[in-house]
């Protein structure tokens, strides 16, 4: 991420030629970029502006709707299900994202050891990320089936009675967190790449100073891994706020039991495409945008306190 702005300038072969080439190279540049310029206008810029406008109207696909000022936003704050969905989404994000980081970093450190069979282990950790989300949801519904599922079957072996998992208001979100942790392989790979980038000399120097395993982890590995943790934290938080496919599939879009799995985007989807309250749903989308932007900004603001870039 830090290298984004580096090297944006392209070398000019011969300076004298610059003026002569400029119209032609301008033309080429625009021509090459033209698909994206059209895409940007049609699929991003226009919908974005339209969405702001809709959020201030009572637009629905069935009727044209009219300008209602900030009514949608005011109504939202009185909508109980809106607050429930925010609570569920924040609950999931606050628990899943940190757990994902702890679990992911630990796994990556285990996978970074030089021992036999590492290729096989790495493949095993990565496999779940290849499972399509709908299939993942169905698979875990079956694993967590209270009567015949494998998880409760295994708990039974050690003499524990498993909970009702997805059928219980208290356990439905933990269930979702569990199955989301199962698909963590992608971030593990990014952590692994980060671990590979830590120069061996740092560990050697620490060993000369008599550092033990924990001290090396605490003072060499973790600080140098912070840029990668930072990246995964931002991406993880953004993704967690947009949770949709898993809870939708598992509850047939109902968010059951007792709306404990009604996530923000599900509520948005229902309003837009079930009740056709598209103005209202657009207002929700903008609130989501603002939440995500503020969260990202917040993480960025704290980052210079805890993110250490090598060589800086």
């Amino acid at each position: 991420m830090a290298e984004v702005t580096k090297g944006t300038r392209v070398q000019q072969p011969v300076i004298v030629k610059r003026k002569m080439l400029s119209t032609k190279s301008n033309l080429h540049g625009w021509l090459f970029a033209s698909p994206w310029i059209i895409g940007l206008l049609v699929f991003f810029a226009f919908p974005l502006i339209a969405s702001i406008y809709f959020s201030f109207t009572s637009y629905s696909i069935l009727q044209p709707g009219e300008f209602v000022g900030s009514k949608n936003y005011q109504d939202l704050f009185k909508d109980d299900l809106f607050w429930t969905s925010i609570y569920n989404t924040i609950y999931f994000t606050i628990i899943f994202v940190p757990l994902g980081i702890i679990f992911g970093v630990s796994l990556a450190m285990l996978l970074n050891m030089k021992i036999k069979g590492m290729g096989i282990y790495r493949t095993i950790f990565f496999l779940p990320t290849l499972v399509p989300h709908v299939a993942l949801a169905v698979l875990w519904m079956w694993l967590l089936n209270p009567g015949f599922g494998l998880v409760n079957g295994l708990l039974d072996v050690v003499g524990l009675q498993g909970p009702n998992w997805l059928g219980s208001e208290a356990w439905s979100k933990p269930s979702l967190i569990l199955m989301s942790l199962w698909g963590i392989g992608q971030s593990v790979i990014i952590y692994l790449a980060g671990l590979n980038d830590i120069p061996e000399e740092f560990y050697e120097a620490a060993e000369v100073d008599g550092a033990n395993w924990w001290q090396k982890t605490r003072h060499v590995t973790l600080p140098l891994l912070t840029p990668v943790i930072f990246f995964n934290l931002v991406m993880g938080a953004i993704g967690a706020f947009q949770q949709f496919t898993l809870p939708y599939t598992m509850t047939q879009g109902q968010g059951t039991p007792a709306n404990s799995l009604t996530f923000y985007v599900m509520h948005l989807y229902d309003n837009a495409f079930k009740f056709f309250r598209m103005g209202y749903a657009s207002a929700m989308a903008w609130i989501l945008f603002i939440i995500i932007m503020s969260l990202t900004a917040l993480i960025f603001m704290t980052s210079n306190r805890w993110v250490h870039y090598q060589g800086k």
Partner: protein, 277 residues
């Protein structure tokens, strides 16, 4: 002698940790395949049994009948392949102009491209639906294919970073030889960027193959459903047919796993590249 013992001990602990963690990741898979081969009576046995008795291969045939599997597979393939083709065609072209061509407005447009990546899809989802509705594309697979021909900001960004890392010397030499800008791109630079293009293509393939909300929004007729949408419908209607559902889940996952084993290196490199740069 002592450090050697210590290292051995450490490796032992690592193996134990790895095996426990691996179990968490692999057991659900084995369970999926195992259930997919069980007769219904054995599916509902408690405590759970691991080995199907007898192996009920007919689950797969039944599943293909209950949901029109091949129709859904066809639909999924068409969307996946065309949208991947679109991405591979458009994104490198745009990325190349950002990385190697000099033109007015380039930096501004690149900045906007990065900014667009931050916008959650839900914001543009509703107006896009209305646009597609207006031009009569709702109920067809076009909204899931056509936009990819106009570039995806994240892929453009990744490819641009890759192009920046390629040297200019070949480009300059070709220029002196009088090659046109497009020929330089097509015959020299694009082949050099093959690993990155392949990675981006893979990302799109995966995204498209597993997409759920897109088909849910735009595919209204059952004959057009993709595998994801089909499985979700099946689950809604036949919630207790676990053997059949696991068979469908397995069949949906296997193509991606095969692809992964063939292109493992590209996969991993692509993910690393997206995370580090």
């Amino acid at each position: 002698m002592e450090p050697k013992v210590k290292i051995k001990l450490q490796k032992g602990f690592s193996h134990v940790g790895l095996i426990i963690a691996s179990a968490f990741f692999i057991v659900p898979f084995i369970w999926m395949v195992s259930t997919s081969l069980k007769p219904l009576t054995q599916v509902f046995s408690f405590p759970p049994e691991w080995i199907p008795k007898p192996f009920q291969w007919s689950n797969y045939l039944d599943a293909m009948e209950y949901i029109p599997f091949f129709t859904y597979l066809d639909n999924t393939m068409v969307i996946t392949l065309l949208s991947t083709f679109g991405v591979v065609l458009s994104c490198p072209l745009v990325a190349y102009s950002f990385a190697k061509l000099e033109w007015k407005g380039r930096n501004v447009l690149f900045f906007i491209t990065i900014a667009v990546m931050m916008i959650p899809g839900q914001v543009t989802m509703i107006p896009l639906f209305l646009i597609f509705n207006k031009i009569g594309w709702v109920g067809t697979n076009l909204p899931l294919i056509v936009p990819s021909f106009f570039g995806v900001p994240f892929y453009i960004f990744l490819l641009r970073q890759f192009f920046l890392g390629l040297p200019d010397t070949l480009r300059d030499a070709a220029k002196i030889d009088g090659a046109s800008e497009f020929r330089i791109y097509w015959q020299i630079m694009l082949p050099l960027a093959k690993p990155a293009v392949l990675a981006v293509g893979l990302f799109q393939f995966m995204a498209s193959w597993t997409d759920f909300i897109g088909p849910l929004l735009y595919l209204t007729d059952e004959t057009q459903y993709t595998l994801s949408l089909g499985l979700q419908q099946f689950q809604t209607q036949m919630g207790t047919e676990w053997g059949l559902m696991m068979a469908v889940s397995t069949m949906m996952t296997v193509p991606i796993i095969i692809l992964f084993f063939f292109l493992q290196k590209t996969f991993i490199k692509g993910i690393k590249f997206s995370g580090i740069k």
